[in-house]
């Protein structure tokens, strides 16, 4: 365990160096949140029937989503990708550590560090300029939001690791790497908040794992999920983490058994 924590810390320290990229990210996310708010407001203005979430809640969804964007499993660790492609992954196999845990630790770092660097300034801008980000509905809601967000990070890291493992089979992984950002944005409700999707799609949207990354924390924050149901949703996130880590470990074992090292 200690070894993996050390890897995690080292990786996080490295990632914290990319502050220039974070600055561009912050500006882009703030712009996006403002545009999305402006688009959604006139739609709500003429809605005659009651919507599943109010405009205030929807705007808060937008800001939470943009602030936490980097948490989504939209990219992978470029160094690990290179290792699989050039065959250096074989050195990792010689080391007395579990490869899955090593990759998972790195995936966790790549998910959390950019998120931490970006979300605080975005939240501050949203609050200072009154852009419509409302406060959590209660103290309990903010507590469950925090717990759910941490679970979301673990879940997103599990998905990120799965994508890297898939490189054992696809090698280039270009297809999945190009599609992933779009799929992740859509299924976590970053394009349009998930509660606004058509009713007939809700059963599917409610069960897929990507909603556990940003959608469930946002629903807890805004009170769309009542506090007494919070445990059920935290359990949902935990269950998906266990399933995806299980699948990841199983696939990795299979992949390693038949691995062909590239290069001479």
């Amino acid at each position: 365990m200690k070894a993996y924590l050390a890897i995690l810390y080292a990786r996080m320290a490295t990632l914290f160096q990319y502050r220039g990229a974070a600055f561009a990210g912050i500006a882009t996310q703030v712009f996006w949140a403002i545009i999305k708010t402006m688009i959604l407001t006139p739609f709500y203005a003429q809605a005659s029937v009651l919507q599943p979430i109010s405009l205030t809640q929807a705007i808060t969804f937008i800001w939470l989503g943009q602030a936490l964007l980097a948490l989504l499993p939209w990219n992978i660790d470029k160094e690990l990708e290179a290792q699989v492609k050039n065959g250096n992954v074989s050195y990792e196999l010689v080391r007395p550590i579990n490869l899955y845990s090593l990759w998972y630790a790195r995936a966790f770092a790549i998910r959390t560090v950019p998120t931490i660097m970006r979300c605080i300034p975005v939240f501050m801008i949203a609050i200072l300029f009154f852009f419509g980000l409302s406060a959590p509905v209660s103290w309990l809601a903010s507590l469950t939001f925090g717990i759910s967000l941490i679970l979301g990070a673990f879940l997103s890291a599990a998905i990120t690791t799965l994508i890297i493992i898939s490189l054992f089979w696809t090698i280039s992984g270009e297809g999945i790497q190009r599609l992933m950002p779009h799929v992740a944005l859509l299924l976590s409700g970053l394009i349009v908040p998930l509660p606004l999707f058509p009713e007939w799609l809700q059963p599917f949207l409610n069960l897929q794992p990507l909603r556990g990354v940003i959608d469930i924390p946002s629903r807890l924050y805004t009170g769309v999920i009542p506090i007494q149901e919070a445990f059920y949703y935290l359990g949902f996130q935990l269950l998906w983490i266990l399933i995806l880590v299980g699948i990841g470990k199983w696939l990795m074992n299979r992949g390693l058994r038949q691995i062909v090292i590239q290069g001479g």
Binding site: A21, A24, G25, A27, T28, F31, W32, I35, M38, I39, L40, T41, P42, F43, Y44, Q46, A47, Q51, S172, E174, G175, R178, L179, P181, H182, L185, L186, I191, V192, L196, F197, P198
Partner: protein
């Protein structure tokens, strides 16, 4: 004329070289085609729930959306040389460009062509045709001219933005990620009726970066959503060409300002 022939020759060469890996190329183009549908899914979700926005229906918005995406795909495929321009500056490789007996703009434009981006073009065409069919938008010569001019104008604005992004590199030496706000952000803004936004943003996207002029105003006039004269709506996309012209002027200024970083 010789330049044009050379340009087409270079385009042909890049197409042939990318087609060498046929399966991989087809995979890329279809993946890209699929990924560009995400935006229209988002718009469909909103219209499915709210039906209308400020009197606009999904079919009408689909026409603006289609024009935007077709117009964006052209510079996305052909202005790639400007997109990763920062690397050229940082490595000092721009010196080599200056030594060649052809204009810098021409060399940048033909440096890299990404054919897979045409997946977006296909997507835009499908949505545009769907919109026209559903609306029974009579395709009389005037309407066809309006749509063609709008596509031309949109492509010109985005091409201009890619050039501007590269031009700024002459001063910053690093590609400004921030400029993505104007390119990809502009695409996001432009696919909805411009009347949804607040007046400051509307003014910005009409008079500074004329994204509203190239797709929204012509289509809104043709569909009677704006009460500006028909002829003005039809020629509004020319604003895009003016924007492109100024971008090229700035580029030339940038080239004069260039001092090499290389050793």
């Amino acid at each position: 004329m010789d330049k044009l022939r050379l340009f087409f020759k270079l385009i042909g060469v890049s197409f042939k070289s990318q087609m060498q890996h046929r399966a991989s190329f087809l995979m890329l183009i279809s993946t890209y085609f699929l990924s560009t549908f995400i935006d229209i899914i988002g718009i469909w979700v909103l219209f499915d729930r709210f039906k209308m926005v400020q009197g606009w229906s999904l079919k009408e918005v689909a026409i603006i959306y289609g024009i935007m995406h077709i117009g964006f795909s052209i510079p996305e495929a052909f202005a790639r040389g400007f997109d990763n321009f920062g690397l050229l500056i940082r490595n000092g490789d721009f010196d080599r460009v200056l030594l060649r007996p052809l204009g810098t703009l021409f060399q940048m434009a033909s440096r890299e062509i990404q054919w897979m981006r045409l997946g977006r073009l296909l997507q835009g065409c499908i949505i545009l045709m769907w919109g026209c069919l559903e609306l029974q938008f009579s395709l009389n010569p005037l309407h066809i001219l309006t749509i063609l001019l709008a596509i031309l104008g949109t492509a010109a604005v985005f091409y201009g933005l890619f050039i501007l992004q590269a031009t700024l590199t002459f001063w910053t030496t690093e590609t400004l990620e921030l400029m993505n706000i104007t390119t990809f952000g502009g695409l996001e803004v432009g696919q909805y009726p411009i009347s949804l936004y607040n007046p400051i943003l509307r003014g910005f996207f009409t008079f500074i970066i004329p994204l509203a002029c190239v797709a929204y105003y012509p289509i809104a006039t043709a569909l009677n959503h704006e009460t500006i004269p028909m002829w003005l709506g039809t020629i509004a996309p020319l604003g895009g060409l003016i924007f492109l012209y100024f971008s090229i002027k700035l580029w030339k200024l940038g080239v004069q300002h260039y001092s090499s970083t290389g050793s």
